[in-house]
Symmetry: C2
Subunit: 348 residues, 2 copies
């Protein structure tokens, strides 16, 4: 049994960073991947590709997510709707429609009940909109100072759509890389409110459910929809790197063709952020066989959540390293890596 | 959007208690039932009997639980094994065997990785012992001071055993009330460590999985096993009151016949606690039709988790109020109510 000595925490020694949990371990970047591999999946004995959700026999899919976003209310959503969308989307990335949600609260003593009621109503409204029910839950209360107001954990259970077989390991050379919409809005919206940057009028989180979009894609492309991922923590860069690693392929994207809204680009420039690393909560990236790519893209554009869908790259020829390469405006290429550590803590 | 002003929290005005989350809202007692009814299930629009787990179509059952226990390591278990047992047991109370678990962490920056590894290994070992796998998970990190080390949320998915139909609303007049083992060990073990009371050598948490015990009970009694509940937060008093309310029956128990280990009784006396209100993590209470009660009791006693099982009372005749009544040593009766608020915060 080990306890935390606060005096030892203020300045970790160089080289000792890996001995304690760092904010960067929650980033969705390289540090988090290391933590998962060396501590969590290592101890649990669950190797294999990192998936947003797991198949548990037959057509059943399950996914779980904690939500610690701050502030809890932001332009375009709140912690309640975000939790529902995030969980529904993780199921959708395995080609599943949601059949049930569960909801667990950790509440800090002193949280206004009016706020708890507002968050819960937001959960309920988002679930109704997704056509799914919250079937069971749990509520724990901790003393003042032992949590920051309210944390949520949602778990989703879903059933795979017929002919839906997307998996992070499914990408093959030649696949077209499709992106369903603009990137960077969620992370910059949160940061703008948190830091008082004044972009709140121009940037709203893209938090939305994607299961209907995925159903349309699968109807158009079936098994040819090889891989799906929603680029949340760690942004598009992490999502593409995870797919590249799981599929053992090189992913080539066309950087000037990436849809970055002007206000997001301004906010990123001001903050020194790369939009490729900023979290999204309402778009997805797909690897689709070239023969089906046009039909899938047309189906995406016909859905409200995919109106601005586009092809952003391809999966490179066999034999390349498992990484992501961007062609830049000036014609050169650069490697797009995951972030090492933390860019935006508590973004979801 | 509402934020917390810490200055307003130190002394809630009389009558204003219901306007903020109190520690007692997490107690498993009356305040918690009110919070669920008026805020959470009220907003979610999910009425009906309070169940430990929900049926989600066919024979599928799902349950979710957050774990905030302090300390995280205690005699007889730790937060990792407790999370697995608690979730497996909630499935078992609906007559289900576990088929998959999910695991979500909220970690405080600064938590030693060695401790995270130890907790995760404990999750893995407990899951193996229960014959179930952790299939997916999530990890969030919050800054120093925004959590107390480590919180876990586990969700279990299970399948109902053939002929298992227990439900909180299933109790009927004449049912025999069976209890699988001694009460009070978990809560007093936690409190003894937390407060340095010195009972650690004598009292260990009863944290253990109960799904095999339930399988044996269902094999012996089938549909005659009307209702099951594990008396965790709020203790046996809350569990029996919830069953009484859901089934709309009077429950009569024989107080002198309740199995309270001597060390637990001493600890409760010292602390001014009623063992009926102290949390358990390894026993269950059942309402069983009288014709099947002997066979079910024999099956319980043949299982390691039910060796000390016994009948502790009956469900009273029709028309009585939905409450719990205890016959005392001197032959009188008293109403056993749920606690109003908090007795032992962060017990699980």
């Amino acid at each position: 049994m080990t306890t935390i000595d606060p005096d030892q925490l203020t300045c970790p020694l160089p080289g000792a960073e890996t001995e304690r949990v760092l904010l960067g371990h929650g980033s969705g970047g390289r540090l988090m991947a290391d933590l998962l591999a060396t501590v969590i999946t290592g101890e649990l004995g669950e190797p294999g590709p990192l998936e947003d959700a797991a198949l548990i026999g037959g057509d059943l899919v399950v996914s779980t997510d904690g939500f610690v976003v701050t502030p809890r209310f932001f332009p375009g959503g709140d912690i309640g709707s975000l939790a529902v969308h995030g969980t529904v989307n993780d199921l959708a990335m395995r080609g599943a429609r949601p059949i049930a949600l569960t909801l667990a609260y950790v509440l800090e003593e002193g949280l206004p009940l009016a706020e708890l009621r507002e968050i819960t109503a937001s959960v309920a409204a988002a679930a109704r909109d997704c056509g799914v029910r919250v079937v069971t839950g749990d509520t724990k209360v901790v003393g003042r100072g032992a949590a920051d107001g309210c944390y949520l954990t949602t778990t989703g259970i879903g059933r795979r759509l017929p002919s839906a077989t997307p998996t992070a390991a499914g990408g093959v050379p030649g696949d077209v890389v499709l992106l369903s919409g603009p990137i960077g809005a969620h992370g910059t919206a949160i940061l703008s409110v948190r830091e008082g940057l004044g972009f709140e009028a121009d940037i709203r989180s893209d938090s939305r459910p994607l299961h209907r979009l995925v159903a349309a894609m699968v109807e158009a492309g079936g098994h040819e929809v090889h891989a799906l991922r929603d680029p949340t923590r760690g942004g598009l860069a992490s999502a593409l790197n995870e797919l590249a690693e799981s599929s053992d392929v090189t992913v080539e994207i066309d950087e000037p063709g990436l849809p970055v809204p002007a206000a997001v680009a301004s906010a990123c420039e001001l903050l020194g952020l790369d939009p490729l690393h900023v979290a999204n909560e309402g778009c997805l990236v797909a690897f689709v066989a070239p023969a089906a790519a046009d039909a899938v893209l047309a189906a995406m554009r016909a859905d409200p959540a995919g109106r601005e869908a586009r092809a952003i790259g391809t999966v490179g020829p066999p034999g390349g390293p498992a990484r992501v390469v961007a062609r830049t405006l000036v014609g050169s290429t650069r490697v797009v890596d995951m972030l090492i550590g933390e860019q935006l803590p508590r973004i979801c």
